[in-house]
Symmetry: C2
Subunit: 225 residues, 2 copies
């Protein structure tokens, strides 16, 4: 049986990946990383989801990285609104963030004798996050294998957000438990990049029955791709 450390943010993508891999019989251990993000709300979602799927969850606090790596996700800067793939979203890029998360997850996996790190990066991430692109994941997986015998599995690499949302519906993922919003209020803002991306994908996947509560539920229609 394959074993894997799964990077679980508490968002729709990693939750769907968890459901997908668990159904395939992969033995999973979830890892949630606090890297000083403003949306700590997503860590609470990760806990609820791990409990729902009966998967062990470790949390690691790397919040001091936020001091080192200013970005709109970790600092008090202005949160850009609009479509996730727009150039304005560059303000949400924490440089090399995914590489850091994958390195830590690979260490977690290696220390426990697991085969893989599972990450839910997908095609929608490629435009603004260079460390979510296939060529990066390939080179990084090679390096990680050499370092500690763990490879990186990115099952959704070529999937769109809507592909993932449709798969979530198919697998019966508890969408209401997941959290995407970069703002971290009590409900999804509906205006930040990930809210727009989520609302658009779930609208299509659920035939307009997205269970998420958005403060501004129709904003995405004006900026969607």
């Amino acid at each position: 049986m394959t074993t894997a450390t799964l990077l679980l943010s508490g968002g729709l993508d990693s939750t769907t990946l968890l459901a997908h891999l668990q159904r395939q019989g992969v033995h999973l251990h979830a890892l949630a990383v606090d890297y000083g993000q403003r949306h700590e709300r997503e860590l609470e979602s990760a806990e609820a989801i791990a409990a729902e799927y009966d998967v062990p969850l470790d949390r690691v606090d790397l919040s001091h990285l936020g001091l080192l790596l200013p970005s709109a996700l970790t600092a008090r800067g202005l949160m850009p609104e609009g479509h996730y793939t727009a150039d304005s979203m560059a303000a949400t890029v924490v440089p090399n963030r995914n590489a850091i998360l994958l390195s830590v997850a690979a260490a977690h996996a290696s220390a426990r004798g697991y085969d893989k790190v599972a990450t839910a990066v997908h095609a929608g991430d490629h435009h603004i996050y260079p460390d979510c692109r296939p060529e990066f994941i390939g080179a990084f997986s090679d390096a990680t294998w050499l370092s500690c015998g763990v490879s990186i599995a990115a099952r959704f690499m070529y999937w769109t957000k809507t592909d993932i949302a449709r798969h979530a519906v198919r697998l019966g993922v508890p969408i209401d438990l997941t959290w995407s919003c970069y703002r971290g209020w009590t409900e999804h803002c509906g205006r930040c990049g990930t809210c727009v991306e989520r609302a658009e994908a779930l609208h299509h996947a659920t035939d307009g029955n997205d269970p998420t509560r958005y403060t501004d539920p129709d904003f995405w229609r004006g900026v969607a791709s």
Copy 2:
């Protein structure tokens, strides 16, 4: 002019690399990482060395990783004694540690627009630390370049510890300010892997005039390579 984030542990290798690159005109910014190591004493050395060379130093606290990644370096396990390259030193391996340090340093460099990450990994590290080997550094540098436009420079990759110690003497490095011991007492223990390696190298480089104070100054003679 080349600019670089230099991973400064406060040990002999990274201090010598700092002196070497500064003399070559590289604009350096030092980064010291607290990853929960027992030898926090080395972080104090990093501060003294950065001050000596008038290089800015950032510290980042990743000490929570110690909880996630048990090893003799971070936990209260038995510290193995003897030669650094012996198989018993495997207990000091924090899996994927170097990959994590390099990922964080690359983020630091990228956020500031620097070209490179400088790391003092050397030939003596290859035997027990897979993530210090040339094939790892090459694959990892490729990945990091794709992720954030920063490459990894490992100038001492094929140097032995004695090569570095001789170079330190040549460059007038303040050897007494550096700290190698894994134990983190007030003076070097002389018996742990890095103490044995340091004592042997500095003995040869200084013609027997190593300025380091060891609690057990002659232990290395019985186990040296």
